[in-house]
Amino acid sequence: MGRRAFKYSKETVVFNIIAYLFTAILAFLCLLPFLLVVSGSITDESSIVLYGYRLIPVKISFDAYKIAFGNPTIILRAYAVTCFVTTVGTFLSLFLSSMAAYALQRKDFVYRNFFAFFFYFTTIFSGGLVPWYILMVKYLHMKDNYLALIIPGLFGVFNMIIIRSFMSSIPDSITESAKIDGASDFRIFIQLILPLSRPVLVTIGLFIALEYWNDWYLSMLFIQKDNMYPLQYFLYKIISKIDFLRNVAARSSNINLSKISLPSESFKLAMTVIATGPIIFLYPHLQKYFIKGIMMGAIKG
């Protein structure tokens, strides 16, 4: 008991100083470019060309945001599509991936290494874009279909393997005793394992959600109807149009329509802000899941 009283020994103080300093510097280095992004997104385009990116804009202009939100119904719809795809995708993917991960780490599953290899192999070898595209579009008819945005992301091998490695630290005794009580694999999984894996599920869930949220590649390949565009792709299309309008090699009688001062660089930055915004507000709320000791307490119970 006596030793416990000296909580703040000299060593702890030194450690704490190093820890706080290291983390603070790293965090600051990570924050700085983002501040530049925010400031750049409200800077007038010509001052970016003249002066580069500054933490404090030389000349402020909200043109980039005006263009993005110019038609509020469209961008709100894009947000809605993205939210839908992200939510559905994340829940499905998390559930299915973790189920597979659980099976993979069960020591009594004889083929577990075979399957692990089977899954992992797909990350090393791939047929490339063309065969996959043909499969999706020609045989599965997944063009202009929300499924095309959700399905490809359902099983990330990286995610499955990480979840597996976490679950393997859950003592086998839990599963064994539950089996003795007559529970099915499925029930064990849902009622016992999932609650115990909360930290890793939150982490991987976050990663999956971010993947869905940020994706524009799948939309580019498979979505043509413009009322189905998710957020990133929608913004990406605007930037494409802007870039073209700025650079159009003048043809015949439409020459003066090309505008040089359209916000191109600042728009790229505004895109980042618009897409990241919601996540930044969401993230701190997830942190409560990262409290130490929550898992082991449950086991004792």
Binding site: I134, K138, V248, A250, S252, S253, I260
Partner: protein, 533 residues
């Protein structure tokens, strides 16, 4: 029991795999059969039915079946796109009982998506193509339908008459025509833009020659410390400077070898054969001059990484001159009217009265998909979209009164809603000559442009494009070397010009460049022979 269940599911999965695999194989053979069938169908015609427009001969084409043609064009969707195409399709339905459904492939994704559209075996009828959109490669890979003279005369007669013979010759690949080119071989030359106010400030005369231009650059470099005389950089078309200062005075022009200036020819000499520019003394001279200029600070020391457009730099005042297509002058002119009225934009013909290369008719065009089910109607659509005046006006300019209007002397003014339907997508092959002038052009634009157009020559190799089939490997290996050395040398970043140039030449020959040279020479000779037939 559980193990058995697992084993069965694995077997089912494997069997499914095989099944899909086999049907996959079958599909591709079906496709080539289809392509053959379509080509055969085209040559037969249906029962007679008069068409109606006076220019079209009564040709007995059957338009009784309504057809929806699917077309792919490049660009992003404009706000009024559906509005305008609604009108266009009304007209088309009336005249040829067909409508066109336009699908757009955005500029940002065109490199990925364009080849995919062919590779995935999608069904469509029309697609935009151009020399710079890899027309040659796609034609060879079997993407497009071969258009015979009979077909063209029958279904697209006005187009057939409208494109000059040189255009059809240029469009031939292995003796067959695979696209409908434009009738406008464009202006293949450039203009020098300078800050007229700075020129006056230093008491320099108007620019009449390249030497005068150099004097201007020198004056700016001495006296204006914050402005680059010529903001060159690696981002876009840095070779324009080389074109104006080296190629033009010698009447050299590059041979279209993809994106790299591998060989050149003399366009004023009809017997000129391809030659290698890089070991010529003129080239070395030029490199030395360019290195001098960089040392003097004519452009940034970070030009190799700079991504800003040269025109953008010029228009915000970061540089004092620029070189580009003369069309860009009007953009800048209008921008300065509003933002920098104190700056004067002066434009000069960069060829200073010299002869200019011929230009290509393949800069824009439409092709028909080899597997299209309605090639005849597709050809007719092209014909009407190009030559039926009211339809064509809609395609090119939009709706009169909403997007544009005409002044009494026939010039075009853009109305406030103009940005909702611009030429921002690839309808330029429908933008045939004669073209309407814009009322807001730079005052000197018309004069210089027509002067340049009048000095165009014509050489068989003008539209020649290298077919890289046989030399793919060497080409890929040399690509990297060209990408690495050319920019460094021509932007003046080399510390030892002779050594680097020699290294470059040695390395490309080590990578098989001699094979490429032989191939270019061989193909050029064949092409010229075919062209002159």
């Amino acid at each position: 029991m559980r193990n058995l269940y697992r084993k069965i599911s694995i077997v089912i999965a494997v069997v499914m795999t095989f099944a899909l695999f086999i049907t996959g194989c079958g599909q591709s053979t079906q496709q080539s059969d289809q392509a053959n069938a379509t080509t055969n169908a085209v040559t037969s015609s249906g029962p007679s039915e008069p068409s109606g427009t006076p220019e079209q001969p009564d040709d007995g084409i059957d338009t009784s079946k309504y057809v929806v043609l699917k077309a792919y064009m490049l660009g992003d969707k404009q706000e009024d796109h559906d509005l305008v195409w609604g009108e266009i399709n009304k007209g088309l339905k009336e005249k040829i009982n067909a409508t066109v459904e336009v699908n757009l492939i955005g500029w940002g994704e065109y490199e990925e998506k364009y080849p995919l559209v062919f590779a995935s075996g999608e069904d469509f009828d029309l697609i935009y193509t151009a020399s710079w959109a890899k027309y040659l490669d796609q034609a060879i890979k079997g993407a497009f339908l071969a258009l015979t003279e009979d077909m063209l005369k029958k279904y697209a007669n006005r187009v057939y008459e409208g494109v000059p013979e040189a255009g059809w010759k240029q469009a031939k690949v292995n003796g067959k025509i695979y696209m409908v080119p434009t009738n406008n071989s464009g202006n293949p030359s450039y203009a020098i833009f300078i800050r007229g106010d700075l020129r006056e400030k230093y008491g320099l005369p108007e620019i009449q020659s390249l030497e005068d231009y150099e004097k201007f650059l020198e004056a700016v470099s001495q006296n204006e410390k914050g402005i680059f005389p010529y903001g060159d950089n690696n981002a876009n078309n840095y070779w324009l400077l080389t074109t104006v200062m080296l190629n033009q005075p010698n009447n050299w022009r590059y041979i279209d070898c993809g994106g790299y200036d591998m060989m050149h020819y003399v366009y004023t000499d009809p017997d000129s054969k391809p030659f290698f520019r890089y070991d010529k003394p003129e080239y070395l001279e030029y490199l030395k001059k360019v290195a001098e200029w960089k040392k003097k600070g004519y452009w940034s020391n970070s030009s190799l990484t700079e991504k800003t457009d040269r025109i953008a730099m010029f228009s915000v005042g970061k540089s004092a001159s620029a070189i580009d297509h003369i069309g860009k002058a009007s953009q800048i002119y209008n921008d300065w009217k509003n933002n920098h009225p104190e700056w004067k934009l002066e434009i000069y013909d960069s060829s200073f009265g010299g002869k200019l290369p011929g230009g290509t008719y393949l800069g824009d065009g439409m092709a028909i998909r080899a597997t299209s089910k309605n090639p005849e109607r597709a050809l007719m659509a092209i014909d009407y979209l190009t030559w039926e005046k009211d339809i064509n006006d809609l395609v090119r300019h939009g709706i009169r009164g909403r997007h544009y209007d005409l002044t009494p002397d026939g010039k075009k003014i853009s109305l406030p809603d103009a940005s909702k339907y611009t030429s921002g997508y690839s309808m330029w092959n429908f933008d045939v000559l004669p073209q309407i002038e814009s009322a807001d052009a730079h005052p000197k634009y018309s004069e210089i442009n027509s002067s340049q157009l009048s000095r165009k020559t014509s050489h068989p190799l003008d539209a020649f494009a290298l077919n890289t089939e046989n030399i793919k490997t060497e080409y890929a290996a040399c690509s990297n070397l060209f990408a690495e050395y050319q920019a460094i040398l021509e932007l003046g970043f080399s510390n030892d010009i002779e050594k680097d140039l020699n290294d470059f030449i040695t390395k490309i020959y080590a990578a098989g460049f001699d094979k490429i040279v032989k191939e270019i020479e061989r193909q050029a000779a064949e092409y010229i022979a075919e062209y002159n037939k």
